[in-house]
Point group: C2
Chain length 377, copies 2
Amino acid sequence: MKKNVLDVVQKPTLLVDLQKASANIDAMRAKAAQNNVILRPHFKTHQSARIAELYREAGITAITVSSVEMAQYFAAAGWGDILIAFPLNWREMDAVNALAGEIQLAVLVDSIESADFLTVKASHDMGVWIKVDTGLHRSGIWWQEMQSIEVLAKRIMQSSKLHLQGILTHTGQTYRANSPEAVKESAYASKQAMLEVKKYLSKQGLKDIQVSIGDTPGCRLLDDFNGADEIRPGNFIFFDLEQWQLGVCRPEEIAVAVACPIVSKNIARNELVIYGGAIHFAKETLPYKGRAIYGMVAGNPNTSFGVLQAECLLTTTTQEHGIIEVTPAVFSQYQVGDVIQLFPVHSCLTVQALGEYLEIHSGERISSMVTKRNGCS
Amino acid sequence: MKKNVLDVVQKPTLLVDLQKASANIDAMRAKAAQNNVILRPHFKTHQSARIAELYREAGITAITVSSVEMAQYFAAAGWGDILIAFPLNWREMDAVNALAGEIQLAVLVDSIESADFLTVKASHDMGVWIKVDTGLHRSGIWWQEMQSIEVLAKRIMQSSKLHLQGILTHTGQTYRANSPEAVKESAYASKQAMLEVKKYLSKQGLKDIQVSIGDTPGCRLLDDFNGADEIRPGNFIFFDLEQWQLGVCRPEEIAVAVACPIVSKNIARNELVIYGGAIHFAKETLPYKGRAIYGMVAGNPNTSFGVLQAECLLTTTTQEHGIIEVTPAVFSQYQVGDVIQLFPVHSCLTVQALGEYLEIHSGERISSMVTKRNGCS
């Protein structure tokens, strides 16, 4: 890192290392290619047209988003094959129709009501995926309720505008695993459940049902994707402390950090007080050594982030303040007015909170769809 | 509420009831006047020039903010007496100087290093407050270290540009209290500690030291502010579930809620899945009946928010999804495509996350300094 990149930091700033992000993309792209599945990365992690270009350079053409707003943003940035992997929001149907008139759009449903609504309201051709629950218990039809899935699939197929793509699951339960082995088992069980559903549907005469799976831990740790057609991980472009703790990535692969000015020091408690709090890191916690932490120091004062300081923990965040508990040795390395780099617990939420990136090699400021009004030009 | 106000909701939307907000302001203004203290409300809660006008109508002229950026925003909106109640961030000194040239600005320090930095760098007259820790243990000099406070005060007074205002504390420890009585005791102990410091400084020849205190629970529940010169509560304009649980407000006084479209229903679990998650509510949790919740249903389908449905809890939030566990009776009241209103755990963070308000009586859209780029005109 050029020394002067951190010199420009005046307030909590999201740092990104695009070289690491590109390497992370390449690794996942290679694994997808090897397994002959489509990589349809989830763009909710970075939310940035500029960073999306790294994917384009890697040959990616199909993407996943989590809101209609995000689909609009990336459609405007030239992405022509977008899946909104969120249960259809009836109240945005006009915007969905407008998008479907412009690009190859796919939406997600998990009920007859939504399928019927779509059938009545769809004004353009669009793809439809059925959301299946394989254990996360958030939304979707429980995978063993195969007859319900079949009924829904057939209902969708009755509409001339709706094109059934297949069944889709998000195996977010991998985040509850305690070990890399447990992640693999959970991801494997989810994929096998999806293949069972596909087999059942096939017996009922429903052919060409694609299987879409995806979550970063599973996609990273599964040995193969045998039977799946498509994977939709998102977080892997950046990773974060949660992924590191799950055993999914190494600290040097984490491609984002937050640079924060130090505004106070408390020698009695070995604490650094930073400008950087709940509204910058987001309030996601990681259980770590019996406590809940919000971040971890990500390197040394004068080098680019990449080395965990696993005894230097962001233990408190209020609206704008953060408190970092550090070792005496680290305490003496930083003075009020210095900048300290921290890895976030959950990079997706931290990106959403900060909205704009600073690239650490080039010094480039990179905007996203959540760049704040103050950043408007 | 006019039925059509909720009809316009397409995505997670921050609702505000300006009548309730005004009533909350009036109550605090009256209490401050009765106690002969200045009410310098903290604007980090609403972050909106439009909503700030409610304070102006109530005769308020002095305000508190938590960042230089926020000071810039409100200075541009015509506020001429602003305290940045956050330890001086050296890296924004140019902006601090620029503001001090425009308005009556005050800043906060808690170290000799920062006082010396200010002495060298200040290019305009500015007020300086000394941050004192009375039990929160975030930043500030511990109140019993009175000699350190004295040394710092005298150092500040040596500069011709710096004008020592007094001592300031944030009694955030009231949020850790288990009962309204405990809030009062904590706030009272904090105020008395500040008065001890003032008495000590007075004995050392430091006269005209003002005492600034403030946090919503304490300001609301303390019987009087005897000895203090200024109070700086912020959250009381809106309140939230945390304040309600502390015994600080009644549900009908909470002036904000989040309206979310329902996108899926799970009858087996009596769960409503909403478009509304971590990026809308913020990830602040409230301990409630042995669990951690993110929000609570705030009323009935067709009436304005204001009545707690204390058995209907937002128990899970991921990036865009939320899951509300409801009673069977409530489950049957809502259909996919409907909107449901929820009280947030912490209104300040929810305002920061959503950025724009919808006023429930007038239907007015109200922007804030964090209104997203998509909202830029």
